[in-house]
Symmetry: C2
């Protein structure tokens, strides 16, 4: 198949943003009247927002900060109130367990994280974390017994490297332990600071098969659900990411004495490249994205034609083959810009993460749960990374999205309506019950 | 007249790059056999290059550095060898005087500078400085008496603010005295370091009428003469410059979760702007130039869509009205880009220098001197700033250009062939004699 045909096919196959009405694999049965307490959830979210709130109304609660540790104490308290048996694993993840009826079944895990980016908001992470606790509390209050144990997990340090979930799926700690974090501490120091034990991380590892399923509720962090007016997103998977350092070499020269037709302007060539990237990326259908977010010109003076420009290119999609094919098209176009402008483009791959697909059965269960609650749902990829992508390596994974106002995230302006959060938590509750009833 | 008609007319009127064969106003007479000693000039240039030579073969001789001060001592020695009466004015300019036959005539000044940019070359400044000394020495050796006194002037600190020439034309010292320079010294400290007196700068001032004419030989610093294969450039004038700080405001957002059609990408809008600038600027004839040499994206991360981009725009031409008209066109186009991309462009003027036209009579004399020497000449603007533009405020001014190899300047790769330098010095010599004979 030629490249363009492949791109078109894969775009259709990756399903884009098709509305889904799939029925659940297992009926939920008598527990179907169980609901979360949306008001309580909303109140607890507001209480959590006190930890690390800054002058802009945003949240500074980076992992391993004092605010992070204090918020973890608050959340442990909520877990205990919910009747969960709490512990901190050696990686520093918070765990709250509710036993199931059948002793030999592996637990269903659900949760998220409560650390923030610098100057972030109180929805990215907290929504899924407190909703998971609320689900467990509602099940307890309404005396619903499940077959599987239910474990609520609050992963530590999602925003600065998904450290807690990487430890849980057993990645070699050498890959992250000595890394610096926004808190000023290394990951090793941070784990100790929050009550973990960086020398015994193997104890935090969950082998494949030891977890029945992982489900995470999260804000979309994009504007698709809001724009479509749909309350629930069923995540198809978490996109793979590739990043390149792009260098454009031209020739630095005097901005006054070099005629316009004798320039080898690296910044001008870079500009033509930046303009071309979205044209190529949107030339085929699909939800793939590409971004140039960083640039520098050298020497970088108003009166010197740039001899070099350095920029970054990032591409994301659920199918890495599509990313590769589009990148190849971009690379060829860049060579054309270089030839026309007396400049040279060089690309160095600097980062790559593989896509993580949600389990199709879990996706169907989530969609069915929404339908049963009278909530429309939409299938969409997650363009952001999540702990769920690590958990997908050891268990069937699913994610539920609720709308982000204005598509804004990582910002004090991050917001999701309390009713939409309650909707998401109810879908999470029904999903847990359906997973419990199903044999995945 | 509408804007576009004005642009077309002014482009033609500003004469672009028309070859000139104008005859001198005054015949040089019996002195026409006088020539410079090109070999000596070439040797002295090589000796001067020892002061501040760096490991790359370039020159680090920024004003007020130890290398600058040592080079000035060397040049003072050359002036003395040439039989000139030397002094340092209170601004720190080096002056070497050869008396004329008629006591009451004001002097003809010629010279340039010997300070360099950081990591510069040994031609930008030194060529005109040592050629002026060689002209005086050749006149002495060949016993040519002139009517006017001849003064060789080596202006201090051309590259970091044209300080010496600004002091000579009497600009308020408050405008520059406290400015920092590449040497680490303020201008005030620097003037003291090189033997001037920053508290008595008024004594360095030359009032209008006190100088008969100013002529400067300089390397072109561009590639026009080389490309056309013409040895002598007759400078039409020194271009005016305008610079703007350009700010593009979009909306910073997540590079993974924000679909391509929902972005307000400030860097993408800036890229479209950078691409547009040369298209607009070359849409009318003429030698005008525009440059975007500096850019930054905020927050400037590979995984965040830029919410803001900051760049510089610089435009140069001999006619400021043309710069203004083209800028207006650019501004309107920027608004269009903003509307199409959900961004906003703002322009702040941050720098402006007025054009300085060469005196038409001096231009004609230079062209005639070249013709008499059998050298083809070309009229062209100077895209770079020079001390000559300050001198134009107090006397009829002219500049002679010689080719720059590859159009390269402010670089260790700056180079002009010794024969081309000797040609330029001979044109300078004949120009001085013709100016001496003429009554301007």
């Amino acid at each position: 198949m030629d490249r363009r045909a492949f791109l078109a096919r894969s775009a259709l196959a990756s399903a884009g943003l098709a509305a889904s009405g799939a029925r659940p694999l297992a009926a939920v049965g008598p527990q179907s009247a169980v609901r979360v307490n949306g008001e309580r959830l909303s109140r607890q979210l507001a209480e959590l927002a006190a930890f690390g709130r800054n002058a802009d109304g945003g949240i500074d609660r980076v992992a391993y900060s004092d605010a992070d540790r204090a918020a973890r104490e608050f959340v442990l308290g909520l877990m205990r109130e919910a009747g969960l048996a709490v512990r901190i694993d050696t990686a520093g993840n918070l765990l709250g367990r509710r036993e199931g009826r059948e002793r030999n079944l592996p637990p269903i895990l659900c949760g998220s994280h409560i650390d923030s980016v610098p100057a972030g908001g109180n929805y990215d992470g907290p929504v899924g974390s407190l909703a998971a606790i609320e689900v467990a509390r509602a099940l307890g209050e309404q005396r619903v017994a499940t077959r599987h144990p239910l474990e609520v997990v609050i992963f530590q340090n999602e925003e600065n490297g998904k450290v807690g979930s990487r430890a849980m799926r057993g990645e070699d700690p050498a890959a992250y332990l000595e890394q610096a974090t926004h808190s000023g501490k290394t990951v090793r120091e941070g784990i100790r600071f929050i009550g973990g034990d960086p020398d015994r991380l193997a104890l935090a590892r969950r082998p494949p098969g030891s977890v029945a399923a992982y489900v995470e509720l999260h804000i979309e962090q994009g504007g698709v659900l809001e724009r479509e007016g749909i309350p629930i997103g069923v995540v198809e998977g978490i996109v793979g990411i590739k990043r390149w350092a792009v260098t454009v070499d031209g020739f630095a020269n005097h901005a006054g004495t070099t005629p316009m037709d004798q320039r080898q302007d690296a910044l001008l060539a870079a500009a033509r490249f930046i303009d071309l990237v979205p044209r190529i990326v949107t030339s085929v259908p699909g939800a793939q994205v590409a971004t140039v977010g960083s640039i520098a010109a050298e020497p970088g003076a108003a009166n010197v034609i740039a001899g070099r420009a350095r920029l970054t290119l990032e591409m994301r999609d659920l199918e890495m083959a599509k990313v590769e094919a589009l990148f190849e098209e971009i690379r060829i176009a860049a060579d054309g810009i270089g030839e026309a402008s007396g400049t040279r483009f060089a690309f160095e791959e600097i980062y790559r993460t593989e896509p993580a697909r949600a389990d199709p059965r879990v996706r169907a269960i989530i969609a069915g749960a929404a339908t049963a609650l009278g909530l429309e749902s939409l299938s969409l990829p997650s363009g952001a990374g999540h702990d769920a992508q690590e958990m997908a390596r050891l268990a069937p994974m699913g994610m539920i999205f609720v709308p982000s106002r204005g598509g804004i995230s990582h910002s004090p302006r991050e917001f999701t309506d309390p009713q939409q959060i309650a909707n998401g938590a109810d879908v999470l509750l029904r999903t847990v019950l359906a997973l419990d009833a199903a044999a995945l």
